[in-house]
């Protein structure tokens, strides 16, 4: 099966799925599975390599960016989202969105109060 480069969802090809498969079922072509696997390995290597270089604040953002790319291709191809009902994808995106909101606002909060924080008093530290 030829993967179209366009963003259009390719229709399931007849010989790719069983004759009696439920409509909407779509067997991911071998080539795509292997390509995604290879891409995941490459991105893992990239994450590891970048972590060996000190980029200051850049490290965490690159690491997160690469992780997001890896998660996206896993979701799109291994998890069929590319061929699925968009609603399933929306559920996942919504969950990630709310986690991002949760973490983002919590970080904003802790940043706001950070200047007021006092070092942990010895009375707490010492038994």
């Amino acid at each position: 099966m030829k993967m179209a480069q366009s963003s259009e969802v390719p229709a399931p090809i007849a010989d790719d799925i069983g004759p009696h498969a439920p409509e909407g079922a779509h067997a991911v072509p071998r080539r795509i599975l292997l390509t995604v696997y290879f891409a995941l390995l490459v991105f893992t290597a990239i994450t590891w390599a970048v972590s060996r270089v000190d980029l200051g604040q850049g490290n965490i953002w690159i690491a997160l960016g690469v992780a997001f790319i890896k998660a996206t291709i896993v979701a799109l191809y291994f998890m069929h989202l590319r061929w699925d009902s968009p609603f399933n994808g929306i559920v996942l995106i919504a969950a990630f969105f709310f986690v991002a909101l949760f973490i983002g606002i919590s970080l904003l909060d802790t940043r706001t109060y950070r200047p007021n924080l006092k070092p942990t008093p010895d009375s707490v530290i010492s038994p």
Binding site: H20, R30, F78, N88
Partner: protein
Amino acid sequence: MSSASQTDLPLAAPHGDHAHGDHAHGDHDPHLAHHFDTPEQQMTSAKLGMWVFLGTEVLMFGGLFCAYSINRHNHPEVFAFAAESYLNVFWGTLNTLILISSSLTMAWGVRAAQLNQKRLLVVCLILTLLGAAGFMVIKSIEYTAKWDEHVWVGKWNQYNADYKGSEPEAPGPALNAPPTPVMTPAASPATPSDANAGQDVSMIKPRYGGPSGLAAPTAHPNESIRESSLNERVRVERYRSLSDSEQWHVSAFFSCYFLMTGLHGLHVLIGMGVITWLLIRAIKGEFSAEYFTPVDLVGLYWHLVDIIWIFLYPLLYLIH
């Protein structure tokens, strides 16, 4: 496609969740529950339900990621110290590769089920199961090493304020010892009684944990499997360079580490359970191009476990 076109399914005994009892189903697809019109509707409903569940999983892990973010944001040096001192990048990377590979075999298994390749499905499920088992083996090697290095959870963590000292049989100096002068030759492993001696007379506030003294080379008899690449002297120096309140936060890293990898590991174990269940059913030949929804859903779950690890790997192992 109508369910009527599926009367000639080459399926063995009907099974599943709806009662087959004695009332005749006629031309009914044995896998189609009564409250669904078509197999497609049933499958898409099941998938949506699975996705909603996966969404709640993401939210559950989100809480831990939030705790991680705040702790790391406020104490970046602490996280760098703890991760570089105690986490082994090799094991983490190897586990990443294993989990990605098992995701591939799982995806391939779904494909095999959809294409009616029943033997290939069994092979794929076995490979996936092996990957999961390999992951857990490595995880247990790592956890064991953490135990040996006294950086477990709670009071079993030498950096914790409540650290209760090492187990009697554990080798090495009592890391919670009161502030023995740093240069004291502590080479002889301190006994637990040493650790308690003088606690009530010292005017200097007790050291609540952390590598103490420079005697640590004796602390880890199995030095060859020591987790970190930092040698003990560098580790102690870095620890001393942290401020008091930062030193107090080192155990927070381990709380994050064990909660996140522990919950993830629990998911891997559950995954192994459901994949085994799939494997048994696949060996019985219960899945086919007409009916593969359980394979599909377990696949989705397994890929989510993979995605979570994809985030855990750089966040825990690649800090510096």
